[in-house]
């Protein structure tokens, strides 16, 4: 059964303030992902990999087509749903690991990481146990947990971001170059965490520039072509 079913999705950016220039980025993208499967979006830069991934998270809009997602209460089309419903789907069904961490400046690493699971109303002891595990596995020393991540190095921030995004065991996981600024040891940790997510039945869609990681994790490639 598909957890994600993308049907003929197209998108064109219209830059109203630059003379109405039209930039077609995606044309009729279609693919499915089943539970436990990892599909890697493939293609040269500018073919809309990142745009497509963002559409699966409701961050970008689609002009046409359907993005069907299996949620606990049935199949929903992300292209057509109310934003309020999308918030719930982000809380419970779809997780996203981006390359950048975006948080309120003063909030501690610990609270940043715990938040997604707390938002689901999980018991604080379960939240703390899971956060401790992830932070330790990602080699973030305990001395950093009480500090706000704003002053951390790029690699440290990236690992805080990964810990946060993996706190909830989402049925669907979207990954946008999750290892971009990590060293070899931490890349290995992240690869294992993704494999574990797949083993528990998550449908994974990712963009990986690292060839080793890509061949290790991908069950299939979905090749994108220029829409222009």
């Amino acid at each position: 059964m598909s957890l994600i079913d993308v049907r003929s999705v197209s998108k064109t950016f219209i830059l109203h303030n630059q003379g109405g220039v039209q930039l077609p980025v995606l044309r009729n993208a279609s693919f499915q992902v089943t539970a436990g499967e990892c599909v890697v979006l493939d293609g040269p830069s500018g073919t809309g990999k990142s745009t497509l991934l963002k559409m699966l998270y409701g961050n970008y809009r689609a002009d046409s087509g359907q993005i069907l997602v299996q949620t606990a209460s049935g199949i929903e089309d992300l292209v057509a749903i109310h934003p309020h419903r999308m918030l719930q789907i982000r809380r419970d069904t779809v997780g996203f690991v981006s390359q950048f961490l975006r948080v309120i400046p003063r909030v501690s690493t610990w609270d940043v990481v715990c938040e997604p699971l707390r938002r689901q109303g999980a018991d604080e002891s379960i939240v703390a146990e899971r956060a401790r595990q992830l932070l330790q596995r990602l080699n973030l020393p305990q001395s950093l947990w009480s500090l706000a991540p704003a002053t951390f190095s790029g690699g440290e921030q990236q690992r805080v971001n990964i810990a946060r995004s993996l706190m909830v065991e989402y049925p669907i996981l979207l990954l946008d170059e999750p290892t971009a600024s990590l060293d070899a040891a931490n890349r290995e940790v992240v690869a294992r965490l993704i494999e574990e997510a797949r083993q528990r039945g998550a449908a994974v869609v990712g963009i990986f520039h690292d060839d080793g990681l890509r061949s290790r994790l991908a069950d299939r490639l979905y090749a994108l072509e220029s829409a222009q």
Binding site: K54, R61, P83, I104
Partner: protein, 258 residues
């Protein structure tokens, strides 16, 4: 499926052509923060005043469901019933804390006054609540007997928030709550607000012209221009993939600080 606690359809208050607030539809669900953005004169403050019953619409419907599940028709309800809701079920945080505080009574008195408005009479209980709420908004409880006129702008704004939250409102309206504050004070206030919203399960409608504040605080956004809502969506979607020409212009004008 959970129902919205506030629901507006066709809400209109027109002062002059394209001025005021025209045919606005809006739903607010429990626990969510809805941001209203736009330039000055776009009608966002008028919309906030209509939603919070500070002003009556010329047309449209507006219904509110309180924490006890009672529905209120905010267009037809009496003045006294609106004031009762504003004292208990709503919080209204003004841009200028001087509009929402009484500067000549103590910080504790500012909080206690609202509690007494809903029937609290026991001095010890009221004072204990005031201490509790001062620490909740990160004001040293030792300042409980000080007059807020001697507080900094950031502290006054925190006190105004405490005064509003003490009656456990389901819905809080905020008009540019970080408007007059330094950037570092703003960050701290935003952090406090975000925590309170989550811990207390309140819904917030916040008007701001600051896209940074909107990004950090709001779950969803409405973009207003000439009195109308021209675009809505998830906050990150509106800011990262704006559709309307005006929204694109608004987003492009944000200074990229980080």
């Amino acid at each position: 499926m959970v129902e919205p606690i506030l629901s507006a359809r066709g809400l209109t208050r027109e002062y002059a052509p394209e001025q005021g607030c025209l045919e606005v539809d809006l739903d607010v669900w429990p626990g969510e923060v809805v941001g209203i953005v736009g330039e000055s004169g776009s009608g966002k403050s008028t919309l906030l005043r209509l939603l919070s019953g500070q002003e009556r619409p010329d047309a449209g419907t507006l219904s509110f469901t309180d924490r006890a599940g009672r529905q209120h028709d905010l267009v037809r309800v009496s003045e006294s019933a609106i004031r009762q809701l504003q004292r208990t079920a709503f919080g209204i945080v003004h841009q200028n804390p001087r509009d929402g505080l009484r500067l000549r009574i103590s910080a504790g008195g500012n909080i206690g006054e609202r509690l007494m408005g809903v029937g609290a009479r026991h001095y010890g209980d009221i004072r204990a609540q005031a201490v509790h709420w001062l620490s909740h908004v990160e004001i040293d409880p030792a300042r409980i007997d000080d007059l807020p006129r001697y507080f900094s702008g950031g502290m006054q704004q925190r006190l105004q928030i405490a005064r509003n939250l003490v009656t456990n409102p389901g819905l809080v309206f905020m008009d540019e709550p970080t408007g007059g504050l330094d950037v570092s004070v703003q960050a701290r206030l935003l952090d406090t607000l975000k925590r309170l919203v989550h811990d207390l399960g309140i819904s917030v409608v916040i008007v701001t012209h600051d896209m940074g504040v909107a990004r950090l605080l709001a779950d969803r956004l409405l973009v207003m221009r000439f009195g109308r809502v021209i675009e809505t969506g998830l906050t990150d979607q509106v800011l990262d993939d704006p559709q309307a020409a005006y929204t694109q212009q608004l987003v492009a004008s944000i200074l990229q600080v980080s």
